[in-house]
Amino acid sequence: MQIHDKPHEHSHSYGAYILVWLALMALTAITVAVAGMDIGRFTVATALIIASFKAYLVLTVFMHLRSETKTFVVFVIVALLFLGISFLLLFSDYSFH
């Protein structure tokens, strides 16, 4: 099959990336604005949720995870899962000390 010799094609245009970049910049502005408000213990949670969404955009669009095969997605999920398990085990251990 000829297709195997061809480099990977991404169907994005310049404009799509610029839009995602604008979203990332807007989210940065939002996270700074929210941090300025006094919402007590939700401050960190909000900052982390926004950061996670930004990371998601970078992973799926800039790092082309959306257009890669399923294998890549499974890879990333497994890696993140193990990091999550580390946090979970550490905190379950830590909170019973």
Binding site: V44, F62, F75, S86, F87
Partner: protein, 207 residues
């Protein structure tokens, strides 16, 4: 895979998907490297919540936000450089790669001024001013210097990596039919960006 299809003499055995997969596997080791530090951060932050809040006030939020914008923009120019080479716009791709390197340098210069300002006030590992603070604050700045420092090293490596790619784009080693190296350099660069996306709120925005 396609041994019957290739035109005589021009077939080069290549596996772009495998190449990118290898890069992703490497990125996971980076995730564990920084992940361990984020673990350390979260435990100490849990233990010394008030001290961390106090210490974070010393950091310049505007500077941090500005550097976030610089790094996000460099990620955009990097990804556009790949699109440009896919479309055989070699000069544009080189220009975008050079802008990426420039933005990375700009990020480091900002970081340099940020750090030297802290050093000036005696806030550096082992510094008198810092050692006079509470143990929670000392831990905060210890983590701050180690994590942003390690991130800074990654930015420097990324700069050199992209510079090599720029050279290879110029000589034609990277071209519109073969650009997986540029893609992999891009993956590395975006990971550096993602790490900063988390470092920024955790150190600058917890006041």
């Amino acid at each position: 895979m396609s041994s019957t299809e290739h035109t005589a003499g021009t077939h080069v055995h290549r596996d772009d998907v495998g190449s990118r997969m290898g890069m992703w596997l490497f990125l996971f080791t980076e995730l564990i490297l920084f992940g361990g530090m984020f673990l350390l951060y979260s435990v100490y932050r849990f233990q010394y919540a008030d001290e961390f809040h106090l210490a974070a006030k010393e950091l310049n939020t505007i500077m941090g936000a500005f550097n976030t914008a610089v790094l996000l923009t460099s990620s955009l120019t990097m990804v556009l450089a790949i699109i440009a080479i896919q479309r055989d716009q070699k000069a544009l791709s080189i220009l975008l790669q050079l802008i990426t390197i420039f933005l990375a340098l700009f990020f480091l210069v900002n970081k340099y001024f940020e750090w030297t300002a802290k050093f000036h006030y005696g806030i550096y590992p082992g510094g008198e001013e810092l050692l006079a603070k509470s143990s929670g604050e000392i831990l905060f700045f210890g983590l701050y210097y180690v994590m942003t420092g390690l991130h800074g090293i990654h930015v420097i490596i990324g700069m050199f990596l992209i510079a090599v790619m720029t050279r290879q784009t110029r000589t034609g080693t990277i071209n519109k039919d073969s650009y997986v190296r540029l893609e992999n350099a891009g993956l590395y660069w975006h990971l550096v960006d993602i790490i900063w996306i988390f470092l920024f709120p955790l150190f600058y925005l917890i006041t």
